[in-house]
Symmetry: C2
Amino acid sequence: MTVELPSKEENFSEWFSTIIDVAEIADFRYPIKGCGIWLAYGFKLRQNVCKTMRKFHDETGHDEMLFPMLIPEDLLRKESDHIKGFEDEVYWITHGGLSPLDVKLALRPTSETVMYPMYALWIRSHADMPIKAYQIVSIFRYETKATKPLIRVREVTTFKEAHTAHSTFEEAEEQVKEAISVYKNIFDSLGIPYLISRRPEWDKFAGSEYSLAFETVVPDGRTLQIGTIHQLGQNFSKAFNMEFETKDGGRDFAYQTCYGISERSVAAVIAAHGDDQGLILPPNVAPLKVVIVPIWYKGKEEEVNEACEKVYNILKESGITVKLDDRDITAGRKFYDWELKGVPIRIEIGPKDVESGVVTFVNRLTKKKETYPLTPTEKLVDKIKEILNEIQDDLYKNAHRKFEEKFLHKANSLDEAQELLEGRNGIVMVPWCGDDECGFQLEDKLGGTILGIPVEEKVTLEGECLTCGREAITFVATSRPY
Amino acid sequence: MTVELPSKEENFSEWFSTIIDVAEIADFRYPIKGCGIWLAYGFKLRQNVCKTMRKFHDETGHDEMLFPMLIPEDLLRKESDHIKGFEDEVYWITHGGLSPLDVKLALRPTSETVMYPMYALWIRSHADMPIKAYQIVSIFRYETKATKPLIRVREVTTFKEAHTAHSTFEEAEEQVKEAISVYKNIFDSLGIPYLISRRPEWDKFAGSEYSLAFETVVPDGRTLQIGTIHQLGQNFSKAFNMEFETKDGGRDFAYQTCYGISERSVAAVIAAHGDDQGLILPPNVAPLKVVIVPIWYKGKEEEVNEACEKVYNILKESGITVKLDDRDITAGRKFYDWELKGVPIRIEIGPKDVESGVVTFVNRLTKKKETYPLTPTEKLVDKIKEILNEIQDDLYKNAHRKFEEKFLHKANSLDEAQELLEGRNGIVMVPWCGDDECGFQLEDKLGGTILGIPVEEKVTLEGECLTCGREAITFVATSRPY
């Protein structure tokens, strides 16, 4: 059975839910809303995205660890702003077996209050820092809003959270910069465009000094927050008594940062690169880079199969993940399946190819076909790597071009901004004085949400605050964030 | 600061707790008993053990997936034996935020009741099977017994559970055999000796037809269950309505198996191979295969450092995980640290080595030193691989020899068996008629626990049941299982 995909541009939300289902990424029919299953193919995609996160964290001296999932109530309550921020959405365990527990346990909504009591044990002196640890785990939020696969879920199955401790505020500031660069590397490697902004005071992370966020825009013009970075200062280190001996023999509390990315990164990969035929997965994270489809003609099956197996073995040995699809169904049906699943290169081999000693490549992105000699095999492998690199680059460029042309706007008047926001055109930058009260009024007037001040300005703005008319600093707004 | 390790043979329990701490495997000071932190080094060891599990599951066509952690109460109660087996140790979530939940949610103690409702959706016909899925996840048990790091915990952070569905009972039986072979490959690759036995009826998994278990013995003579395999028959498939159309057009319920391994596999690696100087990690899973320690002499530092870096780069390029320890502390202290952490090979390079164009290897297991020429570098790399293979083999052989000589016994009388069990000599095989009532009496008389009937007999027994005197079939007992 084949499925007609909804149009990605015209009906993104439906396209997204359908593709997750038919490309076998995840199954969200589990009886708890917002809890889904990563299917085999989706799991591999997720693993490759995790591998990308690990690579850039490990390279910069982060240590992967694993902390407990349960948080005693008193720990979760230690930092007063933090608990306020999470109180409404924490799951509480009250019973072990048939007996009530002495202390209620929370399922981690994030791990500050799990990790920092341990940091307090590990940190005695400045020499014990920096600590730069991360983990990739499930976190839980009791979402009362409508859930959406990979985007708004109750079990976030793929939360990469890094938590650092430093002996000076300056070092923590440097860490924020490193985190930005790590996150840029990750999203660049996934081909996901983004805007980084510093959240307004009223929208920062519960317990932080300030928060930065990475936003992308999905095809329906709504923004999707895909990463956050928080300067925690000493808020948690004081609450958790992370005191240490300084270089000059004094006492101080550690300076901290934390930063997180969730499975929204997988959602963003899907949203950034697919088309009306299905997924188009960046070769960097595609579970399969190449699929080989034999084109059988009566009496020629053997030669075709032999050639297919030869190419399969060549690619496998050279470390390219490849599948030979020898199912007993039509070639057309196979094309359909692998286009849906977004495999970057399809290789077709039929009797004519065998005769001429070539293979036929089909590029999933451009749909272009080309033939290439089967031998020498090293050249064939190089050619495939070249096409994979091209697809990776093209996906990056296309997604970035679209983001900048279609979803990043500048408006100097309320009318203009309103129109752009109502039309769901992504992110609209408008002038704002920086005053909270003006910000709230502006959100009301525009019917949009203030994301914050861009960290790396993409548009230089001049003008007056759209609310009070005072001198403005840039800000960013969006019609409907996910 | 260095720590005097307790003797591994004389005081295993203390040795085990100490080594987990000082070798930086895990930190169990978290305020919830039985919940610990995998530290950076321990996390890498755990990851490598997981990689080993993945390898042998993937090779045999198992698909890795990821299922939700929360189970609505009605699902957990669907298979009546199953819920009885877990009722006393399930954590219950009763509140989301400040509101009570309509349906209580359990933290998964194992995932039959999570996965099988999905299997029921996926299975329509015999052609949808076999399903062979696995996941590596945290599971939770509200342990009331004393907890022990990696051995008896409340959050089992590393539970590999595989769940299969088949269209005939025979196929499920074949799957049990495949599972045995997968598990043998995993434990063999970790160098862990084991005995496989079929659990007595009263000790099988809640909801299974029969259960097999892999047991190893740790140095204090207590057995440790490290893996289980269950033939589920149609118990769950009927409860979860996993009905399908058979090949001949009839209707039937799926036949199922499941099998699990936890972080006890990591505990068993530690227990099987360490000595009084610390861990000895099998090269197959050691986070570092080689550590290089420069031996500095005044005025010769530069040559030494150069040679160290050269060797470091050679090894790194050839894919051997290696660390160059250039910390500003004594070489002796470094030796101590890396012996504690069980790195298989230490390379020492001092001015004399540089002069003679050699490097000095120290084998962590045999403590033997030997020198080898620095060039040609391919030969150096081959030599290192050779030593790693030797260490891997020797660890396997030593552990198996010890297991068979010291911990597998045969007794034909009550007295003999009692003596062996009281002395904590591992597993004692005694004759038993197979009758449940005799089994209970025997456990009482011996002060031991019946593990079950060996699947691959290591001892051929003749004799009469030690309780009733009837004709016996082999069985296995142990003084104190963990």
